[in-house]
Structure formats: C-alpha cells, structure tokens
Symmetry: C2
Subunit: 334 residues, 2 copies
C-alpha cells in the first residue's frame, strides 16, 4: 500500500489538512511546520494521489486531445505544440486517435468527459453534426486546433486556409500558367471542399481561367494514390502545366508520378502545396509551399484553453495565425 497523506500527518504530528496545505503551497503554514512536514514527505517518499485529489477538488489537471491520427505529421506537430504549453501550465494530456470517424469522435468525447478532463482540444478536418452537438453539450472549455469549424461556433486557432490556397494558386498564375490542376484529399472533408478547393476556384475565376472538371483530382490523401493521379492528368487535351496540391505528401506522390512519366518539375510542370512535414524540403526539387505553423497552432490552442479553463476574459476566441509561402524550387523563379 502506498504512503498516504494520513501517514505523513501522523509521522509529522500534524493534521491531514496541514499536510495538504504544505503540498499545495498554501501560505498559511508556519515555516517550521512546513519544514517538518516537507521532511516527512521526503523521508516517506510520499506522492500525492492525483485521482483522490481530482475527486475532492473536481479538477484533474488533465486535458483531452482528440486527433485523427497521431502518426500523421500534421497532427503530431500540432500535438507537440499543445503538449509543450500543457507542460508549462502543468496539465497532463490524454491523447486519443479518432481516424476521423464521426462515431468514434463522439465516443471519444464522451470518454474524455467521463475521465473528467478539465478541457478538450479537438482536431479533425471536418466536423459532423453529431460531433458538433456533442461538443456543444459539454460543460468544459473546448478549443478546435488547426480544424475548420464551418459554423464558427467554437474557440478556434487556425490559419486562413482558403486565402492561403488562393495565394498559392496565384503564384502559379503569376508565372503565366493557364492550365492549373488541383490535387486534393477527399472532398467529403470540409477543409478540402470548403477551404482549399474554394481558394483554388476563387483564384482561377478571378484570373478568368477555366477549370475543366478533370483538373480537380480527388485522392485519398496518400502518397501512393497521388502517385497514380498523374495518369489521370497526363493525357488531358490541355495537360496542366502547373499543379496546386493539398499537402506535401500528395505533392511528392504526384511529383514522382510526373518524373516517372519522363517529365521534369518544374520545367514541365510547376507545383505548389501546403507543407505539413519535412517532405517538402527533403525531396528534390524542393517544393515551394505554404508553410503551416503547426507547432504554433497547437501551442496557441493550448494557451487559449488555459485561459478558458481559468475563466479569464478572452477577447478573441477565434485566433488566426499567419502563414508564409516558402519559395523553393518546384516553381521557377523569375
């Protein structure tokens, strides 16, 4: 049986309350008493039971993090930002993978609430009505990190994905391209359908460029599927001379498909994409890309959550972080 607060109290000839005060840094303890108690704690190797503490105080100093897939660098990077700020504020993290399945997401929210987390950071690339309802019902603070909330109800930290996509496509347009394809993840996901694709469409329309249906290629977001995608593009009447990709993994898949078809990036096809990992920099040519500040997205989300958990006044609960376009070699520089 582990040492309890009661053991320490007896050993130090004080009450549990006093030990509790010492442990929690309550100033109302005479220095001499504090010293005596601290010594006993040390000697006995007392370690407060966080579960008992959580029950008594109704605070667990634990937050929940629900993520589609921690093995994807997008979410791993975000989570690291969350974790570092969580550590600063002495919160632990319960982390769960949802695989973007709405049913599972609902389950997980329920599960985390049952564990009495003090707050929740939720990530996905689409929010279903069921999830939205569940999230609304919760009585703890919730922040969406790097996650589009099409109805803009919840505290959120994000970049302007649509605008970024439009600017990326504009780079291609500025380089003289008329035939620009968009290679995307599934359009069942809001982030692709409502943000990235819309940005692409807006930029194309603004430039008076037409968008043949075939120029919009939907993949399952994997390297391998994107690799195959070039086969759908290469024989088109107006073969695209430039491509905007939804992220760097599919950009690299496509680029390798292009290369294995005997063509060269950027000579034959120029490319730009969202950057979620080191891939964009590791491949040759290096990819010109929208650098998404993933770590910061996570860190700021967690900071926001701490404020919400402390009932602090928060002016803007919809935080927008800046992004950068990093010019590398998949677009020729003028």
């Amino acid at each position: 049986m582990a040492i309890t607060i009661y053991d320490v109290a007896r050993e130090a000839n004080v009450s549990m309350a006093t030990v509790s005060r010492v442990v929690n840094g309550n100033p109302n303890v005479k220095p001499a008493t504090r010293k005596k108690v601290t010594a006993c704690i040390e000697r006995l190797g007392y370690r407060p039971n966080a579960v008992a503490r959580g029950l008594a105080s109704r605070k667990t100093t634990t937050i929940g993090v629900i993520v589609p897939d921690i093995s994807k660098s997008y979410y791993a990077e975000l989570s690291r930002g969350i974790a570092d700020v969580a550590t600063m504020y002495e919160y632990n993290i319960i982390l769960s993978n949802s695989d973007k399945r709405s049913l599972r997401e609902v389950e997980l929210i329920e599960d985390h609430l049952g564990k009495q987390v003090d707050g929740l950071i939720f990530m996905s690339d689409s929010i279903s009505d069921d999830v939205r309802k569940e999230l609304k019902l919760a009585s703890i603070p919730i922040v969406l990190a790097g996650t589009l909330d099409s109805e803009m109800n919840f505290p959120t930290v994000n970049i302007e994905n649509k605008e970024a996509a439009a600017r990326a496509v504009q780079e291609l347009i500025d380089n003289g391209h008329k035939h620009i394809a968009f290679i995307s993840g599934p359009f069942s996901r809001d982030i692709n359908r409502l943000s990235k694709k819309m940005g692409y469409v807006d930029a194309m329309k603004a430039a008076g460029l037409s968008i043949p249906e075939e120029f919009i290629v939907e993949t399952d977001n994997t390297y391998d599927d994107a690799y195959e995608a070039w086969n759908r593009l290469k024989n088109l009447p107006n073969r695209p001379s430039a491509v905007f990709a939804g992220n760097d993994e599919i950009a690299v898949g496509l680029m390798n498909g292009i290369r294995d078809d005997g063509l060269t990036v950027p000579k034959d096809v120029e490319m730009i994409c969202f950057q979620h990992s080191i891939l964009a920099r590791a491949v040759r040519p290096q990819l010109t890309a929208i650098r998404v500040p993933l770590y910061d997205l996570g860190a700021v989300s967690m900071r926001l959550l701490t404020k919400l958990m402390n009932n602090e006044e928060v002016e803007h609960t919809q935080v927008v972080l800046p992004y950068q376009i990093e010019h590398r070699d998949s677009i020729q520089r003028k």
Copy 2:
C-alpha cells in the same frame, strides 16, 4: 452539477450498488431491473465519473506513455500502435514528451505514477541510471517499446538493431565496397553507440575492412546536420563509396548534400539506412533500407503490458520482432 450514480438510483428506485452493477455489466441483476436502470441512465444522461471509480477501485484504466518527441515519426508511429491496442483493451493514454532529458524523464515517471496509471510504456534511445532506478522502483508494470535496455532488466519489445545494422553494412560490402562510412546520431545515446555502431563495426571487421576514424560521422540526428556531413567526408583520402545511415532522415540529408556536390546516388555513392518514415520511399532515388516495424513494436508492447497488468503468465518478456531489408534504388542491384 453532473448526474451521479445516486441520482440514477433514486430515479430507478434501486440502490447505488444495483446501478453500479448495471453499469459494470455484473450479471447479478434481474433483467427487468437492468432494463429499468438502463432506461434511467439513458434518460438522465448519466455518465460514470472515472475519477471516482478510479479512487474506489484503484484502477484507472489509463496507462502512461513517455516518449522523447511525438513529432518524430519514429515515436508517432510507435505511439499509434500502442494507442490502437490500448483502445482494444479500453485503456486511455496519458502521453508526455521527455525530449530525452533524463531529469525530465524521471519527473514524468513520478508524475504518471501520481496519476495512478495502471501501467507505463517508456521510450527513449538511452536509459540513464536515474531513470533505470525510477523505473525499477515503480510498482506497476512497465514495458520499454522500441527502446534499448542495455542491462536487459525490463520487459521490452524491439528488433535486433545491432544485427540489422550489420546486415545492412553487409549489403554494401557484398556490392564490393571497401570504403564504407557510418553516419550516425549522437553517440551519447545507447542505441547509436551500442547497437548501430557496433553492428557497423562488426560487419566491417568480419570483412577485414578498415575503419578510418573519419568514416564514423556523428550528427545531431537532423536533416540539416546530415546535409553538412558530406563536407566532412568528400575530401577524405579514401572517399567513401558507400554509406550506412542511422535513419532515413539523416540519409536523405546526406544524400542531398552528395547530390548538391555534383555526385549521384547510387552511381558515386551507395546508401542504406534504417527506415523510420515515408521519407525513404518519397525521395529519389528511393532508399534501400531496414524497415523497422514501428507500429507493431508499439502494438506488441501494449499487448504485453495488458498481460502484465492482468497478472497473466508471460513466457518471454523480452520480445524481438523481425525486420525486413527493403531493396530499392540507393544501392545498385546486381
């Protein structure tokens, strides 16, 4: 105030104990009663408080996972394997990043124990004496996942890193190379000093090849540092014609350094490495590599931990998983 088990009991005209039985699937409940209670639970939206349950039962159905850095694909992939098996057995995961700092690792172990986790999965690439002591003192099951324990005390799931390294180097030797360099992460880490380097040295010695001191290049394990590493190698009297790299990220860094020096892989320099991410496949030429079964390492670790937590008989607590060398294009095929 949330609904408690007492509210449900009153509403259903039964005792708390009966509600508890229903919630926990205890068979000693009359079907009619069960139905009535279930209905009340549904109607009131009762959600058991896991903290109270944890205090009363002394089980939290939560395990701790301590990882150097979740944003590194090696650990992200491992963690995903852990998480999936944890889900199967209905455990939650508290995940913390240690940045491999021994002091922080000790803190985190203490912290997780305080949270009353039922088990712990620890990962690092080196285990300090302090950490070892802390781990030994713990009274809960602990498994090391993908982590070298040079003293072989703890339950572990791993691959034979040393043997794999030797086999990788042997591939280079078989291709006729005499001058083979090893580009590594920090030798302060056991995995590099005791496993990968030893495998390299063994293979070289067995083949009667000499190892000039300069052939062993220590990097900080980053892409950028590895990129620079070629500068230390290229002007050597016997410039290496082949390189064994500790992982794919530094392999790619080095390869790009080689390429930007005007040389070609595999024509001028052949390469092989440990594969921790999609990088090995995404770059061109694709890297011949030792595929480390990261997901499985995690999954098996968690499975082992469940057995330990259930006090099941476990024959082998030191599990060794197979690995594969994937032949791609950074070594010419004969």
